[in-house]
Symmetry: C2
């Protein structure tokens, strides 16, 4: 019997471009609303227009880039409306991930979650935002892995890309940070109890709180910007 051929191959330029551009967009290097200068990017990345344009197409489907016919590409804006639309979806999907995860969680994974929670608390106490973010991301990743649903992971990744940009625009407030740490303790509890329903609800709430904090911060940031102009 013949084996399925396993195709291992170097990535096309295109895929590299998507990743690099996504990074630039998510981190805000390419500012929301900015016009995308094809030629400039081509020069910068030393590629021709063909793969660059394909990359822009992909990013447009992801929602990070806006394509206007005959008028080129712009970096998608992060409006309050976008966030308010995205976060309920994020909440529903994270909740689903939580429920699915509870059905599969191994003891080892729960132990890992405990370790991450300790790290979360520790990094918060010493004000190390980078370490906190890493532990935070790892926790969510752990849930996703346990959920064992690649399609769901894909959708969450797309959504996350869209909203993560907003977080790069504002700094988390001290109050919100403390609250987030407390919420993560609840998340761990639910994980330990393998209580999918509760975990789902906590995650949904967690996300909703994130949104509220983010929108508040963005609003005041906008006020600042207005005053300056």
């Amino acid at each position: 019997m013949a084996h399925e051929p396993i195709a291992i191959s170097r990535r096309p330029l295109h895929d590299d471009l998507v990743e690099q551009l996504r990074n630039l967009i998510v981190r805000g290097v390419l500012a929301p609303g900015a016009k995308v200068q094809e030629q400039a990017l081509c020069d910068q990345f030393q590629v021709s227009r063909t793969p660059l344009r394909e990359a822009l197409r992909s990013l447009a489907t992801e929602g990070l880039v806006t394509l206007t016919p005959r008028r080129g590409a712009t970096i998608a804006k992060v409006t309050r409306q976008d966030l308010e639309e995205a976060f309920p979806i994020l909440g529903a999907l994270e909740a689903l991930a939580g429920e699915l995860a509870c059905a599969n969680l191994t003891e080892a994974q729960i132990a890992e979650a405990r370790r991450l929670q300790a790290e979360l608390v520790a990094s918060h106490e010493r004000g190390d935002l980078a370490a906190y973010s890493a532990a935070n991301a790892a926790t969510h990743q752990l849930i996703l892995t346990a959920a064992d649903n690649p399609t769901l992971s894909g959708f969450l990744k797309t959504l996350d890309g869209r909203v993560r940009r907003a977080r790069y625009m504002v700094n988390i407030s001290g109050v919100r940070w403390a609250a987030a740490v407390a919420e993560h303790a609840l998340i761990l509890q639910a994980l330990e109890a393998r209580d999918g329903k509760r975990l789902g609800e906590i995650l949904k709430l967690h996300i909703a709180n994130k949104l509220e904090a983010l929108v508040t911060q963005l609003e005041s940031a906008e006020e600042e910007a207005k005053k300056a102009s």
Copy 2:
């Protein structure tokens, strides 16, 4: 004060291609697993490879096409695993749509939902599957419209595209059809009561039942295929 420029423009070839190809894929004309012959499609649509390849990229991001580097594109397969991954997501998102919709529903929309439900029952009674499907789609669309969340609509559209193909592969069973009609009656009740929580749960169940029926049908279809070979 300057107005925001409103860019109305004819669509690029690319967008037409995406739509046409999506249709061909969803309806099964381009069979799951089939290799995509770029040249053949170029000839058929009378376009060059550039816009066609861009279209394939978009469809790949949507999950309808699988791109393997240096080995070209194939129509994505519809595996049982894909469906089992997609349906819980569909359920969670439809539930969310239902909850959001209940917060906004107008009397006119509820009246429209009643009309659609009557049509649903009628078309079922006379065995008119096309009319039933239309009324069914209209109901879901009504909920989406009321939910008033374009981002959510977009995600649901993508997911729906992926699973709709499976429905073209099997015919709905008489039993499942009757059950679906009954479930739609419950949906209407929840809409009338504007009971978002309940609507969400019903929709989630409705989707879960759909999956079960679909998987069962697919399995037996596969059995048939095996026997034939």
